[in-house]
């Protein structure tokens, strides 16, 4: 249960986890939204590092490309368009509702921590499998691939083919919806 500090991956995990927690705290505590967005980018990079430590290479790459690339550019563009001012009063400590919220979240985190520490599964051997195999009734009898990315690709296009296609429909709907919502209303404008 303890961390082996001789292992270089443990040290990498601790470093990335510290950066991740620190920059996440900076996101919610800093008054300036631009600094918050920059801290969020740092937090996502640290999370990508943790994924790489866990040997989930494909997801680490996607984290950098999608989150720190696409989504954060969108957020920063919106901050730039709106020219947001700083929050003048971050009166966290004087508002009784917000004090109650902090206490409740601390209680929730404590119970999360206790349940995570007591998690003791019977299944799994702790050895991450890097291969994927699937039996097919047809001219091709089976699919066998090795490696993280190849396994994810095979699993996406064999087990999760319908959700994958539905995600493409969802993305199209989201893009069209975003354009329609953000478009300037010409009738009300004049």
């Amino acid at each position: 249960m303890t961390l082996d500090l001789e292992n270089p991956q443990s040290i990498l995990f601790l470093a990335f986890a510290g950066v991740c927690i620190g920059s996440s705290l900076a996101v919610i505590l800093h008054k300036n939204p631009v600094i918050s967005a920059a801290s969020l980018v740092l937090s996502f990079f640290a999370l990508a590092g943790i994924y790489a430590v866990m040997n989930a290479i494909f997801i680490a790459t996607m984290q950098v490309l999608v989150y720190t690339g696409a989504i954060m550019v969108l957020v920063i563009f919106v901050i730039m368009l709106l020219s947001l001012r700083e929050e003048t009063n971050l009166e966290i400590w004087r508002n009784p509702i917000k004090q109650t919220a902090i206490v409740l979240v601390m209680i929730v985190y404590g119970s999360l921590l206790i349940s995570a520490m007591n998690y003791n599964p019977e299944i799994g051997n702790g050895q991450p499998k890097e291969n994927y195999s699937y039996e097919i009734k047809g001219p091709v009898t089976s699919v066998n691939v090795k490696g993280n990315t190849a396994s994810i690709g095979a699993s996406t296009f064999i087990d999760y083919l319908l959700p994958f296609e539905l995600v493409s429909v969802l993305l199209t709907a989201a893009v069209i919806g975003a354009v329609v919502i953000a478009k300037r209303d010409k009738l009300n404008q004049s």
């Binding site: 249960m1 991956q9 984290q63 957020v75 919220a101 051997n125 993280n148 959700p163």
Partner: protein, 106 residues
């Protein structure tokens, strides 16, 4: 049973994900700026992704990583629509502070 992923126990990953999720919940509850609230929601989504990958690696099942891929796609869709709504609200009300937006209050 002591499960390690790359030499780090599984409980450490779960604790980190719990901490990130709690920070995200605190951000949603404490901040007034809609864009920062949106970033806190992204933090919560990322902590859940970390849990998915930790269990995927510990159980030797690749399905969790495929789900994380889908979560990322849906987060991108949510980002596009959510930020468009923020822009539309800012155009009408000239503010993005959620306590000054009370259109649905009666």
């Amino acid at each position: 049973m002591n499960i390690n992923i790359s030499g780090v126990p599984l409980t450490y990953y779960l604790s980190l994900a719990g901490a990130m999720f709690s920070i995200g919940v605190l951000g949603v509850l404490l901040r007034r700026n809609a864009v920062v609230i949106f970033m806190s929601v992204e933090l919560m989504l990322n902590s859940v992704n970390l849990v998915f990958i930790a269990f995927s690696k510990s159980m030797g099942n690749i399905g969790g990583e495929v789900i994380v891929f889908f979560v990322m796609a849906i987060a991108a869709a949510e980002a596009a629509v959510g930020l468009a709504i923020v822009i539309a609200i800012h155009r009408h009300k000239k503010t993005v502070f959620v306590d000054e937006i009370n259109l649905l209050k009666w």
